[in-house]
Protein backbone atom coordinates (compact mmCIF):
# COMPACT_ATOMS: atom_id res chain seq x y z
CA UNK A 1 0.00 0.00 0.00
CA UNK A 2 1.55 3.27 -1.12
CA UNK A 3 0.46 6.46 0.57
CA UNK A 4 1.22 8.98 -2.16
CA UNK A 5 0.17 12.12 -0.35
CA UNK A 6 2.66 11.42 2.46
CA UNK A 7 5.41 10.49 0.01
CA UNK A 8 4.84 13.58 -2.10
CA UNK A 9 4.70 15.88 0.92
CA UNK A 10 8.06 14.53 2.13
CA UNK A 11 9.50 14.89 -1.38
CA UNK A 12 8.16 18.45 -1.57
CA UNK A 13 9.68 19.38 1.79
CA UNK A 14 13.04 17.93 0.76
CA UNK A 15 12.98 19.89 -2.50
CA UNK A 16 11.82 23.17 -0.98
CA UNK A 17 14.19 23.06 1.98
CA UNK A 18 17.13 22.85 -0.43
CA UNK A 19 15.65 25.25 -2.91
CA UNK A 20 18.92 26.38 -4.47
CA UNK A 21 20.09 22.89 -5.32
CA UNK A 22 16.66 22.00 -6.63
CA UNK A 23 16.73 25.07 -8.86
CA UNK A 24 20.20 24.18 -10.16
CA UNK A 25 19.09 20.62 -10.94
CA UNK A 26 15.91 21.83 -12.65
CA UNK A 27 17.86 24.45 -14.59
CA UNK A 28 20.12 21.67 -15.88
CA UNK A 29 17.07 20.00 -17.37
CA UNK A 30 15.65 23.33 -18.53
CA UNK A 31 18.79 24.22 -20.47
CA UNK A 32 19.11 20.70 -21.85
CA UNK A 33 15.53 20.56 -23.11
CA UNK A 34 15.49 24.24 -24.12
CA UNK A 35 18.57 23.90 -26.26
CA UNK A 36 17.29 20.63 -27.68
CA UNK A 37 14.06 22.33 -28.78
CA UNK A 38 15.88 25.37 -30.14
CA UNK A 39 18.47 23.31 -31.95
CA UNK A 40 16.11 20.80 -33.44
CA UNK A 41 13.55 23.41 -34.54
CA UNK A 42 16.24 25.62 -36.05
CA UNK A 43 18.13 22.78 -37.71
CA UNK A 44 15.07 21.14 -39.22
CA UNK A 45 13.85 24.57 -40.30
CA UNK A 46 17.15 25.19 -42.07
CA UNK A 47 17.10 21.71 -43.54
CA UNK A 48 13.62 22.23 -44.86
CA UNK A 49 14.64 25.57 -46.37
CA UNK A 50 17.73 24.08 -48.04
CA UNK A 51 15.73 21.12 -49.27
CA UNK A 52 13.00 23.28 -50.68
CA UNK A 53 15.60 25.40 -52.43
CA UNK A 54 16.34 22.43 -54.66
CA UNK A 55 13.22 20.34 -54.36
CA UNK A 56 10.83 23.17 -55.18
CA UNK A 57 12.47 23.34 -58.59
CA UNK A 58 11.65 19.72 -59.17
CA UNK A 59 8.16 18.40 -59.79
CA UNK A 60 7.23 15.12 -58.13
CA UNK A 61 7.36 13.45 -61.52
CA UNK A 62 8.87 14.98 -64.63
CA UNK A 63 7.65 13.42 -67.88
CA UNK A 64 9.54 14.11 -71.10
CA UNK A 65 10.96 12.54 -74.22
CA UNK A 66 14.66 12.02 -74.25
CA UNK A 67 16.99 11.70 -77.19
CA UNK A 68 18.51 8.26 -76.87
CA UNK A 69 19.63 5.36 -79.03
CA UNK A 70 17.06 2.67 -79.79
CA UNK A 71 17.22 -0.16 -77.36
CA UNK A 72 16.60 -2.61 -80.20
CA UNK A 73 19.14 -2.12 -82.94
CA UNK A 74 18.27 -3.37 -86.48
CA UNK A 75 20.65 -6.27 -86.22
CA UNK A 76 18.49 -7.94 -83.58
CA UNK A 77 15.64 -8.15 -86.06
CA UNK A 78 17.65 -10.61 -88.18
CA UNK A 79 16.76 -14.01 -86.87
CA UNK A 80 19.89 -15.55 -88.24
CA UNK A 81 22.08 -13.36 -86.02
CA UNK A 82 20.08 -13.30 -82.83
CA UNK A 83 21.86 -16.23 -81.24
CA UNK A 84 25.31 -14.72 -81.92
CA UNK A 85 27.28 -12.14 -80.00
CA UNK A 86 26.88 -8.88 -81.88
CA UNK A 87 29.07 -5.84 -81.49
CA UNK A 88 27.86 -2.61 -83.03
CA UNK A 89 30.22 0.33 -83.21
CA UNK A 90 29.30 4.00 -83.24
CA UNK A 91 25.64 3.79 -82.40
CA UNK A 92 23.80 7.05 -83.03
CA UNK A 93 20.65 8.18 -81.31
CA UNK A 94 17.48 7.65 -83.19
CA UNK A 95 15.96 10.75 -84.68
CA UNK A 96 13.13 11.39 -82.34
CA UNK A 97 10.73 14.22 -81.84
CA UNK A 98 11.00 16.05 -78.53
CA UNK A 99 7.27 16.56 -78.24
CA UNK A 100 5.19 14.21 -76.15
CA UNK A 101 2.95 12.25 -78.46
CA UNK A 102 -0.73 12.93 -77.97
CA UNK A 103 0.06 15.28 -75.10
CA UNK A 104 -3.41 16.76 -74.67
CA UNK A 105 -5.32 13.45 -74.39
CA UNK A 106 -2.51 12.14 -72.17
CA UNK A 107 -2.96 15.09 -69.81
CA UNK A 108 -6.65 14.46 -69.65
CA UNK A 109 -5.99 10.81 -68.92
CA UNK A 110 -3.47 11.54 -66.16
CA UNK A 111 -5.77 14.10 -64.55
CA UNK A 112 -8.28 11.32 -63.96
CA UNK A 113 -5.74 9.36 -61.86
CA UNK A 114 -6.82 9.79 -58.22
CA UNK A 115 -3.18 9.85 -56.99
CA UNK A 116 -2.31 12.81 -59.17
CA UNK A 117 -2.91 16.32 -57.92
CA UNK A 118 -1.99 18.29 -61.01
CA UNK A 119 -0.47 17.95 -64.47
CA UNK A 120 1.24 21.11 -65.65
CA UNK A 121 2.37 21.27 -69.29
CA UNK A 122 5.51 23.07 -70.43
CA UNK A 123 7.26 23.65 -73.72
CA UNK A 124 11.01 24.07 -73.50
CA UNK A 125 13.38 25.24 -76.18
CA UNK A 126 16.87 26.64 -76.49
CA UNK A 127 17.24 30.31 -77.41
CA UNK A 128 19.90 33.00 -77.49
CA UNK A 129 19.36 36.19 -75.56
CA UNK A 130 20.74 38.97 -77.71
CA UNK A 131 22.17 42.15 -76.35
CA UNK A 132 24.02 44.23 -78.87
CA UNK A 133 26.71 42.03 -80.33
CA UNK A 134 26.70 39.44 -77.54
CA UNK A 135 24.53 36.41 -77.51
CA UNK A 136 23.91 34.42 -74.37
CA UNK A 137 22.49 30.96 -74.71
CA UNK A 138 19.59 30.01 -72.55
CA UNK A 139 16.37 28.13 -72.14
CA UNK A 140 12.92 29.52 -72.56
CA UNK A 141 10.04 27.68 -71.03
CA UNK A 142 6.47 28.10 -72.14
CA UNK A 143 4.12 27.84 -69.20
CA UNK A 144 0.45 28.08 -68.42
CA UNK A 145 0.67 30.96 -65.88
CA UNK A 146 -2.55 30.08 -64.08
CA UNK A 147 -1.64 26.45 -63.49
CA UNK A 148 1.96 27.28 -62.76
CA UNK A 149 1.09 29.72 -59.98
CA UNK A 150 -1.37 27.25 -58.49
CA UNK A 151 0.77 24.12 -58.50
CA UNK A 152 4.40 25.24 -58.50
CA UNK A 153 6.52 27.53 -56.34
CA UNK A 154 7.39 29.82 -59.23
CA UNK A 155 5.60 32.79 -57.64
CA UNK A 156 7.83 32.54 -54.54
CA UNK A 157 10.88 33.41 -56.58
CA UNK A 158 9.55 36.32 -58.54
CA UNK A 159 11.23 39.54 -57.43
CA UNK A 160 8.95 42.06 -59.05
CA UNK A 161 5.81 41.48 -60.99
CA UNK A 162 4.08 38.11 -60.99
CA UNK A 163 3.48 35.20 -63.28
CA UNK A 164 -0.02 36.54 -63.73
CA UNK A 165 1.36 39.51 -65.62
CA UNK A 166 2.30 37.08 -68.40
CA UNK A 167 -1.41 36.68 -69.00
CA UNK A 168 -1.94 40.36 -69.60
CA UNK A 169 0.58 40.83 -72.34
CA UNK A 170 0.95 38.72 -75.44
CA UNK A 171 4.67 39.46 -75.61
CA UNK A 172 5.62 39.19 -71.94
CA UNK A 173 8.63 37.34 -70.57
CA UNK A 174 9.80 36.51 -67.05
CA UNK A 175 13.56 36.74 -67.02
CA UNK A 176 16.12 35.13 -64.72
CA UNK A 177 17.80 37.75 -62.55
CA UNK A 178 21.25 36.59 -63.67
CA UNK A 179 20.57 37.33 -67.31
CA UNK A 180 18.91 40.61 -66.43
CA UNK A 181 22.00 41.65 -64.51
CA UNK A 182 24.39 40.64 -67.28
CA UNK A 183 22.40 42.45 -69.90
CA UNK A 184 21.51 45.41 -67.67
CA UNK A 185 17.80 44.98 -68.12
CA UNK A 186 14.88 45.90 -65.88
CA UNK A 187 11.18 45.23 -65.74
CA UNK A 188 9.54 47.09 -68.58
CA UNK A 189 12.58 46.83 -70.89
CA UNK A 190 12.52 44.73 -74.04
CA UNK A 191 14.80 41.80 -74.77
CA UNK A 192 15.64 40.24 -78.09
CA UNK A 193 15.76 36.50 -78.57
CA UNK A 194 17.13 34.41 -81.41
CA UNK A 195 14.92 31.38 -81.91
CA UNK A 196 16.09 27.92 -83.07
CA UNK A 197 14.56 28.84 -86.41
CA UNK A 198 17.03 31.78 -86.49
CA UNK A 199 14.39 34.41 -86.24
CA UNK A 200 14.71 37.54 -84.13
CA UNK A 201 11.99 38.12 -81.61
CA UNK A 202 11.42 40.99 -79.21
CA UNK A 203 9.69 40.37 -75.87
CA UNK A 204 8.78 42.71 -73.03
CA UNK A 205 10.09 41.92 -69.54
CA UNK A 206 7.11 41.74 -67.15
CA UNK A 207 9.04 40.33 -64.19
CA UNK A 208 12.34 39.00 -62.85
CA UNK A 209 12.82 35.84 -60.87
CA UNK A 210 15.61 34.57 -58.65
CA UNK A 211 15.77 30.95 -57.48
CA UNK A 212 19.12 31.24 -55.73
CA UNK A 213 20.62 28.66 -58.08
CA UNK A 214 22.92 30.57 -60.43
CA UNK A 215 22.69 27.98 -63.18
CA UNK A 216 18.97 28.59 -63.48
CA UNK A 217 18.97 32.34 -62.90
CA UNK A 218 21.62 32.84 -65.59
CA UNK A 219 19.86 31.00 -68.35
CA UNK A 220 16.17 30.49 -67.83
CA UNK A 221 13.16 32.57 -68.76
CA UNK A 222 9.44 31.95 -68.83
CA UNK A 223 6.77 33.02 -71.24
CA UNK A 224 3.34 31.89 -72.26
CA UNK A 225 3.10 28.40 -73.67
CA UNK A 226 1.45 29.67 -76.86
CA UNK A 227 4.35 32.07 -77.41
CA UNK A 228 6.90 29.25 -77.41
CA UNK A 229 4.71 27.15 -79.68
CA UNK A 230 4.59 30.15 -81.98
CA UNK A 231 8.40 30.60 -81.87
CA UNK A 232 8.85 26.95 -82.82
CA UNK A 233 6.08 27.20 -85.40
CA UNK A 234 4.28 24.31 -83.80
CA UNK A 235 0.58 23.66 -83.20
CA UNK A 236 -1.27 23.97 -79.86
CA UNK A 237 -0.73 20.30 -78.98
CA UNK A 238 3.06 20.63 -79.03
CA UNK A 239 4.10 19.91 -75.41
CA UNK A 240 7.62 18.82 -74.47
CA UNK A 241 7.34 18.33 -70.70
CA UNK A 242 4.70 17.44 -68.16
CA UNK A 243 5.27 18.28 -64.50
CA UNK A 244 3.15 16.08 -62.31
CA UNK A 245 2.48 16.76 -58.65
CA UNK A 246 1.11 13.98 -56.51
CA UNK A 247 -1.08 13.90 -53.45
CA UNK A 248 1.41 11.63 -51.70
CA UNK A 249 5.06 12.18 -52.58
CA UNK A 250 5.93 8.66 -51.37
CA UNK A 251 4.10 7.23 -54.38
CA UNK A 252 6.32 9.13 -56.82
CA UNK A 253 8.61 6.29 -57.81
CA UNK A 254 5.76 3.81 -58.40
CA UNK A 255 3.65 6.19 -60.47
CA UNK A 256 6.67 7.38 -62.44
CA UNK A 257 7.38 3.80 -63.44
CA UNK A 258 3.77 3.22 -64.43
CA UNK A 259 3.74 6.28 -66.65
CA UNK A 260 7.08 5.40 -68.20
CA UNK A 261 6.07 1.86 -69.17
CA UNK A 262 2.49 2.66 -70.13
CA UNK A 263 3.23 5.61 -72.41
CA UNK A 264 6.81 4.93 -73.53
CA UNK A 265 8.07 8.20 -72.06
CA UNK A 266 10.81 9.15 -69.68
CA UNK A 267 9.38 9.76 -66.22
CA UNK A 268 11.78 10.77 -63.45
CA UNK A 269 10.50 10.93 -59.88
CA UNK A 270 11.72 13.45 -57.34
CA UNK A 271 13.66 10.95 -55.21
CA UNK A 272 15.69 9.70 -58.13
CA UNK A 273 16.34 13.22 -59.33
CA UNK A 274 17.60 14.33 -55.90
CA UNK A 275 19.07 11.18 -54.46
CA UNK A 276 22.24 12.87 -53.23
CA UNK A 277 20.09 15.42 -51.46
CA UNK A 278 18.43 12.87 -49.22
CA UNK A 279 21.85 11.83 -47.92
CA UNK A 280 22.73 15.38 -46.89
CA UNK A 281 19.43 15.80 -45.07
CA UNK A 282 19.84 12.51 -43.22
CA UNK A 283 23.33 13.41 -42.07
CA UNK A 284 22.28 16.87 -40.88
CA UNK A 285 19.42 15.33 -38.91
CA UNK A 286 21.83 12.84 -37.43
CA UNK A 287 24.11 15.64 -36.22
CA UNK A 288 21.15 17.52 -34.75
CA UNK A 289 20.03 14.51 -32.76
CA UNK A 290 23.55 13.62 -31.63
CA UNK A 291 24.09 17.11 -30.21
CA UNK A 292 20.65 17.20 -28.57
CA UNK A 293 21.02 13.83 -26.91
CA UNK A 294 24.44 14.84 -25.59
CA UNK A 295 22.89 17.93 -24.02
CA UNK A 296 20.15 15.89 -22.39
CA UNK A 297 22.59 13.29 -21.07
CA UNK A 298 24.67 16.05 -19.48
CA UNK A 299 21.51 17.36 -17.80
CA UNK A 300 20.72 13.82 -16.64
CA UNK A 301 24.11 13.49 -14.98
CA UNK A 302 23.51 16.77 -13.15
CA UNK A 303 20.33 15.37 -11.64
CA UNK A 304 22.04 12.10 -10.77
CA UNK A 305 24.76 13.98 -8.94
CA UNK A 306 22.43 16.17 -6.96
CA UNK A 307 20.15 13.30 -5.94
CA UNK A 308 23.15 11.25 -4.91
CA UNK A 309 24.38 14.08 -2.70
CA UNK A 310 20.90 14.55 -1.32
CA UNK A 311 20.72 10.90 -0.31
CA UNK A 312 24.06 11.06 1.48
CA UNK A 313 22.86 14.11 3.37
CA UNK A 314 19.54 12.48 4.17
CA UNK A 315 20.90 9.18 5.50
CA UNK A 316 19.51 9.96 8.96
CA UNK A 317 16.12 10.87 7.56
CA UNK A 318 16.04 7.66 5.59
CA UNK A 319 16.95 5.63 8.68
CA UNK A 320 14.33 7.33 10.82
CA UNK A 321 11.64 6.94 8.16
CA UNK A 322 12.43 3.25 7.97
CA UNK A 323 12.51 2.87 11.75
CA UNK A 324 9.10 4.50 12.10
CA UNK A 325 7.53 2.20 9.56
CA UNK A 326 8.22 3.44 6.05
CA UNK A 327 9.19 0.57 3.79
CA UNK A 328 12.16 0.56 1.39
CA UNK A 329 9.76 1.08 -1.53
CA UNK A 330 8.26 4.14 0.19
CA UNK A 331 11.74 5.62 0.59
CA UNK A 332 12.57 4.79 -3.04
CA UNK A 333 9.40 6.52 -4.21
CA UNK A 334 10.22 9.58 -2.11
CA UNK A 335 13.48 10.04 -4.00
CA UNK A 336 12.09 8.96 -7.38
CA UNK A 337 9.31 11.51 -7.08
CA UNK A 338 11.88 14.19 -6.27
CA UNK A 339 13.74 13.31 -9.47
CA UNK A 340 10.55 13.32 -11.52
CA UNK A 341 9.34 16.61 -10.03
CA UNK A 342 12.68 18.15 -11.05
CA UNK A 343 12.21 16.55 -14.48
CA UNK A 344 8.66 17.81 -14.97
CA UNK A 345 9.31 21.35 -13.75
CA UNK A 346 12.67 21.60 -15.54
CA UNK A 347 11.22 20.02 -18.67
CA UNK A 348 8.23 22.34 -18.90
CA UNK A 349 10.44 25.38 -18.30
CA UNK A 350 12.74 23.96 -20.98
CA UNK A 351 9.89 23.73 -23.46
CA UNK A 352 8.96 27.35 -22.70
CA UNK A 353 12.60 28.41 -23.05
CA UNK A 354 12.81 26.54 -26.35
CA UNK A 355 9.59 28.13 -27.56
CA UNK A 356 10.85 31.59 -26.57
CA UNK A 357 14.20 31.12 -28.28
CA UNK A 358 12.68 29.72 -31.46
CA UNK A 359 10.20 32.60 -31.61
CA UNK A 360 13.14 34.97 -31.18
CA UNK A 361 15.09 33.27 -33.96
CA UNK A 362 11.97 33.31 -36.10
CA UNK A 363 11.92 37.11 -35.75
CA UNK A 364 15.62 37.58 -36.49
CA UNK A 365 16.17 39.12 -39.94
CA UNK A 366 17.92 36.86 -42.40
CA UNK A 367 18.48 38.34 -45.81
CA UNK A 368 20.22 36.39 -48.48
CA UNK A 369 20.37 37.06 -52.15
CA UNK A 370 19.77 33.44 -52.92
CA UNK A 371 16.38 33.41 -51.25
CA UNK A 372 14.42 36.55 -52.02
CA UNK A 373 11.21 35.49 -50.27
CA UNK A 374 12.87 34.58 -46.95
CA UNK A 375 13.29 37.50 -44.55
CA UNK A 376 13.86 35.77 -41.21
CA UNK A 377 15.67 32.63 -40.06
CA UNK A 378 13.61 29.52 -40.71
CA UNK A 379 12.11 27.65 -37.75
CA UNK A 380 10.22 24.40 -37.83
CA UNK A 381 8.10 24.53 -34.66
CA UNK A 382 6.81 21.00 -34.83
CA UNK A 383 4.79 19.88 -31.75
CA UNK A 384 6.39 16.43 -32.06
CA UNK A 385 9.75 17.93 -30.96
CA UNK A 386 8.09 19.32 -27.84
CA UNK A 387 6.58 15.94 -27.08
CA UNK A 388 9.97 14.23 -27.55
CA UNK A 389 11.56 16.93 -25.36
CA UNK A 390 9.25 16.45 -22.38
CA UNK A 391 9.33 12.66 -22.69
CA UNK A 392 13.12 12.72 -22.74
CA UNK A 393 13.17 15.04 -19.72
CA UNK A 394 11.03 12.55 -17.81
CA UNK A 395 12.97 9.56 -19.08
CA UNK A 396 16.40 10.98 -18.24
CA UNK A 397 15.37 12.23 -14.79
CA UNK A 398 13.76 8.85 -14.14
CA UNK A 399 17.03 7.11 -14.99
CA UNK A 400 19.06 9.66 -13.03
CA UNK A 401 16.83 9.14 -10.00
CA UNK A 402 16.67 5.38 -10.28
CA UNK A 403 20.15 4.44 -9.06
CA UNK A 404 20.31 6.81 -6.07
CA UNK A 405 16.77 5.88 -5.03
CA UNK A 406 17.55 2.17 -5.17
CA UNK A 407 20.54 2.93 -2.97
CA UNK A 408 18.23 4.73 -0.53
CA UNK A 409 15.82 1.81 -0.62
CA UNK A 410 18.56 -0.59 0.42
CA UNK A 411 20.06 1.51 3.22
CA UNK A 412 20.11 -0.48 6.47
CA UNK A 413 18.61 1.78 9.18
CA UNK A 414 20.35 -0.09 11.99
CA UNK A 415 23.83 0.63 10.65
CA UNK A 416 22.98 4.33 10.31
CA UNK A 417 21.42 4.66 13.76
CA UNK A 418 24.16 2.64 15.47
CA UNK A 419 26.91 4.36 13.52
CA UNK A 420 26.04 7.71 15.07
Amino acid sequence: MINWSVILSIAKTHLLSRFKQTVVAALGVTFGIGSYITLVCFMTGLNRMLDSLILNQTPHIHVFNEVEPSKKQPITYDKALVSGFNIIHSIKPKQNQLRITNALPLMQYLNKNPDILSVVPQVKTQVFYKSGATEISGLIIGIDPLKESRFSNLDDYILNGSSQSLLNSSNGILLGSGIAKKMVLQVGDRIQLITPGNELLSLKIVGLFQTGIAEIDDSRSYTKISKVQQILMQPKNYITDLNINLKDIQQASRIAQEIATQHHLNAVDINTANAQFETGTTIRNLITYAVSITLLIVAGFGIYNILNMLIYEKMNDIAILKATGFSGIDVQYIFMSQALIIGIVGGILGLLLGLGLTLLIDQTPFNTEALPTITTYPINNNPVFYLIGILFALFSTFLAGLLPSIKAKNIDPVSIIRGQ
Binding site: I320, L321, K322, T324, G325, F326, G328, D330, V414, I417
Partner: protein, 225 residues
Protein backbone atom coordinates in the same frame (compact mmCIF):
# COMPACT_ATOMS: atom_id res chain seq x y z
CA UNK B 1 0.67 -13.67 32.18
CA UNK B 2 0.94 -13.32 28.44
CA UNK B 3 4.03 -11.73 26.96
CA UNK B 4 3.72 -8.76 24.64
CA UNK B 5 7.13 -9.51 23.23
CA UNK B 6 8.92 -12.79 23.55
CA UNK B 7 12.38 -13.79 22.31
CA UNK B 8 13.33 -17.44 22.05
CA UNK B 9 16.93 -18.63 21.61
CA UNK B 10 18.19 -15.58 19.79
CA UNK B 11 21.69 -16.01 18.37
CA UNK B 12 23.49 -13.42 16.37
CA UNK B 13 26.86 -13.51 14.64
CA UNK B 14 28.99 -10.73 13.22
CA UNK B 15 30.97 -11.92 10.23
CA UNK B 16 33.22 -8.88 9.96
CA UNK B 17 35.95 -8.12 10.77
CA UNK B 18 36.19 -11.74 12.00
CA UNK B 19 33.47 -14.25 12.93
CA UNK B 20 32.15 -13.37 16.38
CA UNK B 21 29.06 -14.43 18.32
CA UNK B 22 27.40 -11.31 19.73
CA UNK B 23 24.28 -12.84 21.22
CA UNK B 24 24.26 -16.27 22.76
CA UNK B 25 20.97 -18.06 23.06
CA UNK B 26 18.93 -15.23 24.51
CA UNK B 27 15.39 -15.97 25.69
CA UNK B 28 13.12 -13.65 27.63
CA UNK B 29 9.72 -11.98 27.53
CA UNK B 30 8.15 -8.64 28.33
CA UNK B 31 4.71 -8.48 29.89
CA UNK B 32 2.06 -5.93 29.19
CA UNK B 33 2.62 -2.69 31.12
CA UNK B 34 6.09 -3.74 32.21
CA UNK B 35 8.86 -1.10 32.32
CA UNK B 36 12.06 -2.98 31.55
CA UNK B 37 15.59 -1.69 31.21
CA UNK B 38 18.56 -3.49 29.69
CA UNK B 39 21.95 -2.70 31.18
CA UNK B 40 25.44 -3.80 30.42
CA UNK B 41 28.86 -2.64 29.36
CA UNK B 42 29.62 -1.34 25.91
CA UNK B 43 29.88 -4.15 23.39
CA UNK B 44 27.89 -6.65 25.46
CA UNK B 45 25.31 -6.81 22.70
CA UNK B 46 22.45 -4.93 24.36
CA UNK B 47 21.87 -2.56 21.45
CA UNK B 48 22.19 -5.41 18.99
CA UNK B 49 19.49 -7.25 20.89
CA UNK B 50 17.27 -4.18 20.90
CA UNK B 51 17.50 -3.81 17.11
CA UNK B 52 16.65 -7.47 16.64
CA UNK B 53 13.64 -7.04 18.92
CA UNK B 54 12.69 -3.91 16.98
CA UNK B 55 12.45 -6.03 13.77
CA UNK B 56 14.86 -3.71 11.98
CA UNK B 57 17.66 -6.27 12.11
CA UNK B 58 16.53 -9.52 10.52
CA UNK B 59 19.88 -11.27 10.32
CA UNK B 60 19.71 -13.58 13.39
CA UNK B 61 18.82 -17.11 14.44
CA UNK B 62 15.99 -17.89 16.81
CA UNK B 63 12.38 -16.80 17.04
CA UNK B 64 10.62 -13.59 17.94
CA UNK B 65 6.97 -13.54 18.98
CA UNK B 66 4.74 -10.55 19.31
CA UNK B 67 1.44 -11.25 21.11
CA UNK B 68 2.10 -14.90 20.25
CA UNK B 69 2.48 -14.18 16.53
CA UNK B 70 5.76 -15.27 14.95
CA UNK B 71 7.57 -12.25 13.55
CA UNK B 72 10.80 -13.96 12.49
CA UNK B 73 11.03 -14.63 8.76
CA UNK B 74 8.36 -12.15 7.67
CA UNK B 75 9.14 -10.02 4.60
CA UNK B 76 10.38 -6.44 4.87
CA UNK B 77 7.11 -4.91 3.79
CA UNK B 78 5.24 -6.68 6.55
CA UNK B 79 7.91 -5.69 9.08
CA UNK B 80 7.73 -1.99 8.10
CA UNK B 81 4.00 -2.04 8.54
CA UNK B 82 4.38 -3.92 11.81
CA UNK B 83 6.88 -1.41 13.21
CA UNK B 84 4.65 1.41 12.10
CA UNK B 85 1.67 0.00 13.95
CA UNK B 86 3.06 -1.67 17.06
CA UNK B 87 6.47 -0.28 17.97
CA UNK B 88 7.45 3.21 19.02
CA UNK B 89 11.10 4.25 18.96
CA UNK B 90 13.13 6.72 20.95
CA UNK B 91 16.83 6.96 20.15
CA UNK B 92 19.79 8.47 21.89
CA UNK B 93 20.03 11.12 19.22
CA UNK B 94 16.47 12.30 18.81
CA UNK B 95 16.43 11.60 15.05
CA UNK B 96 13.79 14.07 14.01
CA UNK B 97 13.42 15.16 10.40
CA UNK B 98 15.10 18.55 10.66
CA UNK B 99 13.25 20.27 7.83
CA UNK B 100 9.79 19.35 9.07
CA UNK B 101 7.86 21.10 11.82
CA UNK B 102 7.48 19.42 15.20
CA UNK B 103 3.84 18.68 14.43
CA UNK B 104 4.68 17.10 11.07
CA UNK B 105 7.37 14.96 12.67
CA UNK B 106 4.85 13.62 15.13
CA UNK B 107 2.17 13.11 12.47
CA UNK B 108 4.35 11.33 9.91
CA UNK B 109 4.09 7.72 11.22
CA UNK B 110 0.31 8.09 11.56
CA UNK B 111 0.02 9.45 8.03
CA UNK B 112 1.93 6.42 6.85
CA UNK B 113 -0.41 4.11 8.75
CA UNK B 114 -3.37 6.03 7.25
CA UNK B 115 -5.93 4.67 9.69
CA UNK B 116 -7.30 8.10 10.41
CA UNK B 117 -7.96 11.19 8.36
CA UNK B 118 -5.44 14.00 8.32
CA UNK B 119 -7.51 16.16 10.69
CA UNK B 120 -7.95 13.36 13.19
CA UNK B 121 -4.22 12.69 13.11
CA UNK B 122 -3.53 16.36 13.75
CA UNK B 123 -5.84 16.39 16.76
CA UNK B 124 -4.16 13.27 18.16
CA UNK B 125 -0.69 14.69 17.55
CA UNK B 126 -1.52 17.88 19.42
CA UNK B 127 -2.99 15.79 22.21
CA UNK B 128 0.30 13.88 22.52
CA UNK B 129 2.29 17.11 22.46
CA UNK B 130 0.06 18.53 25.21
CA UNK B 131 0.56 15.43 27.28
CA UNK B 132 4.31 16.00 27.07
CA UNK B 133 3.93 19.74 27.67
CA UNK B 134 5.36 20.88 24.37
CA UNK B 135 2.26 21.89 22.41
CA UNK B 136 3.66 25.40 22.08
CA UNK B 137 6.45 24.11 19.87
CA UNK B 138 4.09 22.44 17.39
CA UNK B 139 4.77 24.80 14.51
CA UNK B 140 8.51 25.26 15.07
CA UNK B 141 11.02 23.54 12.85
CA UNK B 142 12.54 20.44 14.47
CA UNK B 143 16.00 21.97 14.03
CA UNK B 144 15.06 25.03 16.09
CA UNK B 145 14.26 23.41 19.45
CA UNK B 146 16.49 22.29 22.30
CA UNK B 147 17.80 18.75 22.94
CA UNK B 148 15.42 17.96 25.79
CA UNK B 149 12.50 19.23 23.76
CA UNK B 150 13.59 17.16 20.79
CA UNK B 151 13.59 14.01 22.87
CA UNK B 152 10.05 14.76 24.05
CA UNK B 153 8.98 15.29 20.43
CA UNK B 154 10.55 11.93 19.61
CA UNK B 155 8.49 10.36 22.40
CA UNK B 156 5.34 12.00 21.08
CA UNK B 157 6.13 10.58 17.67
CA UNK B 158 6.70 7.13 19.17
CA UNK B 159 3.26 7.35 20.78
CA UNK B 160 1.23 8.61 17.83
CA UNK B 161 0.12 5.21 16.52
CA UNK B 162 -0.69 3.97 20.06
CA UNK B 163 1.91 1.19 19.93
CA UNK B 164 1.99 -1.85 22.21
CA UNK B 165 5.60 -1.29 23.15
CA UNK B 166 8.09 1.55 23.21
CA UNK B 167 11.74 0.81 22.65
CA UNK B 168 14.51 3.18 23.55
CA UNK B 169 18.23 3.07 22.76
CA UNK B 170 19.75 5.20 25.54
CA UNK B 171 17.01 7.82 25.27
CA UNK B 172 18.52 9.81 28.15
CA UNK B 173 22.14 9.24 27.15
CA UNK B 174 22.49 12.64 25.60
CA UNK B 175 20.48 14.67 28.13
CA UNK B 176 21.38 16.51 31.34
CA UNK B 177 20.08 15.10 34.62
CA UNK B 178 17.08 17.42 34.73
CA UNK B 179 15.88 16.46 31.26
CA UNK B 180 16.77 12.79 31.84
CA UNK B 181 14.52 12.78 34.91
CA UNK B 182 11.81 14.44 32.91
CA UNK B 183 11.97 11.74 30.23
CA UNK B 184 11.96 9.01 32.89
CA UNK B 185 8.85 10.48 34.50
CA UNK B 186 7.11 10.49 31.15
CA UNK B 187 7.98 6.83 30.59
CA UNK B 188 6.87 5.89 34.07
CA UNK B 189 3.57 7.67 33.58
CA UNK B 190 2.95 5.91 30.28
CA UNK B 191 3.69 2.57 31.86
CA UNK B 192 1.39 3.18 34.81
CA UNK B 193 -1.47 5.09 33.25
CA UNK B 194 -1.59 3.76 29.70
CA UNK B 195 -0.37 0.26 30.44
CA UNK B 196 2.36 0.60 27.83
CA UNK B 197 5.27 -1.85 27.78
CA UNK B 198 8.69 -0.21 27.66
CA UNK B 199 12.05 -1.67 26.81
CA UNK B 200 14.90 0.75 27.35
CA UNK B 201 18.59 0.15 26.80
CA UNK B 202 20.57 2.38 29.14
CA UNK B 203 23.91 3.01 30.81
CA UNK B 204 22.35 5.12 33.53
CA UNK B 205 22.13 3.23 36.87
CA UNK B 206 19.82 5.79 38.49
CA UNK B 207 17.47 5.43 35.55
CA UNK B 208 17.56 1.63 35.59
CA UNK B 209 17.07 1.33 39.34
CA UNK B 210 13.66 3.00 39.13
CA UNK B 211 12.32 0.63 36.43
CA UNK B 212 10.20 -2.46 37.15
CA UNK B 213 12.83 -4.89 35.97
CA UNK B 214 16.48 -4.77 34.98
CA UNK B 215 17.94 -7.19 32.48
CA UNK B 216 21.70 -7.23 32.88
CA UNK B 217 23.81 -8.43 29.99
CA UNK B 218 27.45 -9.31 29.56
CA UNK B 219 29.28 -11.04 26.73
CA UNK B 220 26.10 -11.72 24.78
CA UNK B 221 24.26 -13.47 27.62
CA UNK B 222 21.63 -12.38 30.11
CA UNK B 223 23.11 -12.55 33.64
CA UNK B 224 20.05 -11.93 35.72
CA UNK B 225 16.55 -10.59 35.18
Amino acid sequence: MKYVLEAKNINKYFKKPKPFQVLKDISFGIKKGEFTSIMGKSGCGKSTLLYILSTMDTDYKGALYFNDTLITGQDKKFLSRFRNEHIGFVFQFHYLLAEFSVLENVMLPAKKLAQFSKDEIEVKAIEKLKMLGIEKLALKKASQISGGEKQRVAIARALINEPSIIMGDEPTGNLDSHNALNVFDIFKKLSLKEGLSLLIVTHDHDFAKKTDRIIEMSDGCIRNS
